[in-house]
């Protein structure tokens, strides 16, 4: 039986660092749900990229006389109040939602994990100052901040991603910091310090792999959050403007007429939920695969 908490194993594990990902991949491939999630995501991404070749309609093509119509042979998922093909709008909306989801979450992930890891690892006064800064940003009136951004920089998709990332990293930082603080007290880290490893190396080689579990779980929780936040910001005027759309926006329009035209809510809702399910399966699989303790199996 090997145990990650002994120094011997620690030394043995260090040169093996490169193969951590290879190991993980091997384990991930055994996880059927995770592979299904990966496959589904790949499928959605391909559809979104190939959108113009998949659907005969343009996402902005209106047929005002047709108006909102239920699913039919011509329009598989029906049309919205402008007579626009819903399937087409969902596919094009997916481009934006997925882009926002991945980019903004990556921003939140990188900033949040780095920030939280440093605060939790260094501790003491640095930690205090860093976490108070998080408190301050957290408390500022987000909407005023957004309105200002909108005015100073104009409408800009990149800005939208940044604005979303700028809020989402805060919680990530708090979670990572808590975990790292916890880890910091454990013997194997103290052992690594006494072995003279540099803090950067310790964070990279020992701390981050060990906080990956909660980070991945929280990331899968962040993606839906980010996609819905995008809908809110677009609604306020920052971000995407009609006739462009996203899943979040399609859902929020669908809510308005859920009794009259339920398909306008149902199908975008399915698209979002299924994608998030897939992401989630993949996330869980990754978490298990990357778990350092799992190697004992």
């Amino acid at each position: 039986m090997t145990d990650t908490t002994t120094p011997d194993n620690l030394l043995a594990a260090t040169p093996k660092g490169v193969s951590l990902w290879q190991d993980a991949w091997v384990r991930l491939r055994k996880n059927k749900l995770a592979m299904f999630g990966l496959g589904f995501l790949g499928f959605i991404i391909v559809i979104c990229i190939l959108a113009p070749w998949i659907t005969p309609y343009g996402y902005e093509d209106q047929d005002l006389r047709l108006g909102a119509s239920a699913p039919s042979a011509a329009h598989w998922l029906g049309t919205d109040t402008f007579g626009r093909d819903l399937l087409t709008r969902i596919i094009y909306g997916g481009r934006i939602s997925l882009a926002v989801g991945f980019i903004a979450t990556s921003v939140a992930l990188v900033v949040g994990v780095t920030y939280g890891a440093i605060a939790g690892y260094v501790g003491g006064r640095v930690d205090s100052v860093m976490m108070r800064l998080v408190d301050i940003i957290y408390a500022l009136p987000f909407m005023i901040f957004i309105i200002l951004l909108m005015v100073v920089f104009g409408r800009n998709l990149l800005l939208l991603f940044l604005a979303i990332g700028a809020v989402e990293w805060l919680t990530m930082a708090r979670i990572v910091r808590g975990q790292v603080q916890n880890l910091r007290q454990q013997e194997f880290i103290e052992a690594a310090i006494s072995l003279g490893l540099s803090p950067a190396a310790i964070i990279r080689k020992h701390v981050i792999p060990n906080v990956l579990g909660p980070v991945i779980v929280y990331t899968t929780l962040t993606i839906p959050n980010v996609m819905l936040l995008e809908a809110f910001l677009s609604f306020l005027g920052l971000g995407i403007q009609p006739p462009n759309s996203s899943w979040g926006l399609l859902i929020s329009y669908g809510v308005e007429s859920m009794e009259e035209y339920p398909w306008l809510l149902l199908f975008p809702g399915f698209a979002l939920t299924l994608t998030l399910f897939a992401l989630n399966f993949l996330g869980d699989g990754l978490r298990d695969a990357l778990d350092p303790k799992a190697s004992r199996d």
């Binding site: 005002l64 006389r65 402008f82 909108m150 005027g237 009609p242 009259e260």
Partner: protein, 547 residues
């Protein structure tokens, strides 16, 4: 052992939560709020947004107006059916031959809620208050037809006795106007001209103190048919029948409860759940459903307001009238009405809504995509080639979005020009309009009183509400000098038609449709006719539980 206790504790907690949830939901006690209200004579009124205040001289909004007009009464009121002026605090009045001197005879039985008589002195003091420069009353201009009122409000004269308002005796008030202003009586039903109770205001602050709490429930003394009894912000405002009101015998309602209903879907659900007698709006997509299922509750009527787009005429290519006309002509207003607006509005081709007390606006253009393409070619953009990309600015709201999306597509398909939509939060939108920082912007205007002037005076040169850069000397001459001095209604309307023709030939604005008011009204509500001012006169309303 330990495990059992903890386990039991956990089961207990779950049970407690379930009990709490189920216990709270012990079902309805038979009657809905509306049914109970019908029995008690209480009207439950969906009022749009939360009022900012109830001081008649400070508030500026329509939701405020609907409450203030239940609490206060001016010299005159309006008949909800015809919108003709009816006696209010003034029992009778005379107008001099030249139309500039008004003498009001106040009734001697008008009372404040504390029993004090309402006198001419009250009106004199109240009008002094709203014109007081330090109060900063946004609607003080409603009294500007009065001699020296504008000068006093601007601080150019400091002695209020020079303003043309004179107390002849306790029950006689004389008003001297600068020019015969034919719609002056109409203004006296506006809350800015309502009387306020001097001792109450002075008990809580000074005459020009905006921040005083006198207008809160418990402090307020008013003179209308109802008395303010409860005000919980963002929840409800309750007013009850005022027994000291001079016409109290004629009031059927015992109380009115006003609810802020910002969220249309919530308001709709409240109505269906029997919580409201009347809604402020109807969700557009539900109109066909209600029309099919319960046509008796749907009340959709023309409104004194116009929905339009305006051009920034200082910015190319919109400084070219041919471009403005091309854009205006290429829109299929009937199709917009049928599809986007569920067929409930009238297409508009001019600024003033038709039928404003007999006024008919000119129709200077018609929908014609062919003519629009010709004009665009003449302006140097054949088939839309080389036309710069531009933006439509609108404030964040579902119905504005829908309209913009449809118009965007019409311009793209008819004229082959590309336009981007920009929705902005209300205050940002206003700021960009004020600074002429836009290409084309959505706008709406609701008349303050029933006269074309309330629309046409927006477009005088450098007028604060102009916001397009439009300027025409002849137009200014008519609106500022000739029309106000013309007593005869037909002659005046002829002048307005000339002015509006000038305006529409220059096309700084692109009219889209004439507004309609949309309300769901429970069949038990009687005596609440819908009119073009969306004006409610609570004196006429009664509830019939059997309807």
């Amino acid at each position: 052992m330990t495990g059992n206790i903890v386990g039991n504790w956990r089961i207990g907690l779950v049970a407690a939560v379930l009990l709490l949830l189920v216990g709270c939901g012990g079902g309805e006690d038979g009657l809905t709020r509306v049914q109970q209200g019908n029995l008690d004579g209480v009207l439950h009124f969906g009022n749009g947004t939360e009022p900012e205040g109830l001081d008649p001289h400070i508030v500026t909004g329509v939701p405020e107006n609907r409450i203030v007009s239940a609490l206060f009464e001016g010299l005159v009121t309006k008949n909800p059916e015809t919108l003709e002026v009816e006696p209010g605090v003034a029992e009778t009045w005379e107008i001099s031959e030249d139309g500039t001197l008004y003498t009001f005879h106040l009734r001697d039985n008008a009372r404040w809620t504390n029993g004090d008589p309402v006198t001419a002195v009250d009106f004199h003091w109240s009008w002094n208050r709203i014109l007081e420069p330090e109060l900063g009353a946004q609607y003080n201009y409603n009294l500007f037809p009065v001699v020296n009122a504008e000068e006093y409000a601007n601080g150019t004269i400091e002695d209020f006795s020079q303003v043309g308002v004179t107390v002849l005796d306790d029950y006689t008030l004389q008003v001297q106007l600068k020019t015969p202003t034919p719609y002056f009586l109409q203004l006296l039903d506006h809350y800015s001209t309502f009387p306020v109770h001097r001792p109450t205001i002075e008990a809580y602050g000074t005459m020009s103190d905006r921040l005083s709490p006198w207008a809160r429930a418990g402090n307020m003394v008013s003179n209308g048919a109802f008395d303010l009894t409860e005000w919980q912000i963002n929840s409800h405002i309750r007013v009850e029948k005022n027994d000291t009101y001079w016409d109290a015998d004629e009031i059927d309602l015992n109380a009115i409860v006003f609810y802020p209903t910002e969220n249309l879907v919530t308001e709709d659900r409240m109505f269906r759940d029997g919580q409201l007698h009347r809604t402020q709006e109807i969700v557009l997509d539900r109109i066909p459903v209600y029309r099919a299922e319960r046509p008796e509750i749907v009340h959709i009527e023309p409104w004194l307001g116009t929905y339009f787009y305006m051009f920034n005429t200082t910015k190319p290519p919109f400084d070219d009238v041919r471009v403005r006309k091309a854009l205006a002509m290429s829109i299929d207003r009937n199709l917009l009405d049928e599809s986007v607006m569920q067929g409930i509005v009238e297409p508009a081709y001019a600024l003033v809504p038709p039928g404003t007390l007999g006024y008919q606006p000119p129709k200077t253009f018609e929908q014609s995509a062919d003519r629009a393409r010709e004009l665009l070619a003449e302006a140097g953009y054949p088939n839309g080639e080389g036309f710069p990309e531009f933006e439509i600015l609108y404030n964040t709201q579902e119905s504005h979005r829908r309209m913009a999306v449809a118009i965007q597509q019409m311009w793209a398909s008819e004229l082959n020009i590309m336009v981007t939509l920009v929705n902005q939060e209300w205050k940002v939108y206003l700021e960009n309009q004020d600074n002429l920082n836009y290409d084309i912007s959505r706008r709406g205007w609701i008349g303050d009183y029933v006269d074309p002037n309330t629309f046409l005076d927006m477009y005088v040169t450098d007028g604060g509400n102009n916001k397009t850069g439009f300027s025409d000397p002849r137009y200014d001459e008519i609106i500022l000098r000739e029309a106000p001095a013309t007593l005869d209604r037909d002659a005046r309307y002829e002048l307005y038609r000339e002015a509006e023709t000038i305006l529409m030939e220059a096309m700084p604005i692109l009219p889209v449709y004439t507004y309609t008011t949309k309300h769901l009204i429970d069949p038990s509500v009687k005596g609440m006719p819908v009119n073009i001012m969306d004006h409610v006169n609570y004196k006429y309303i009664w509830l019939d539980p059997d309807a």
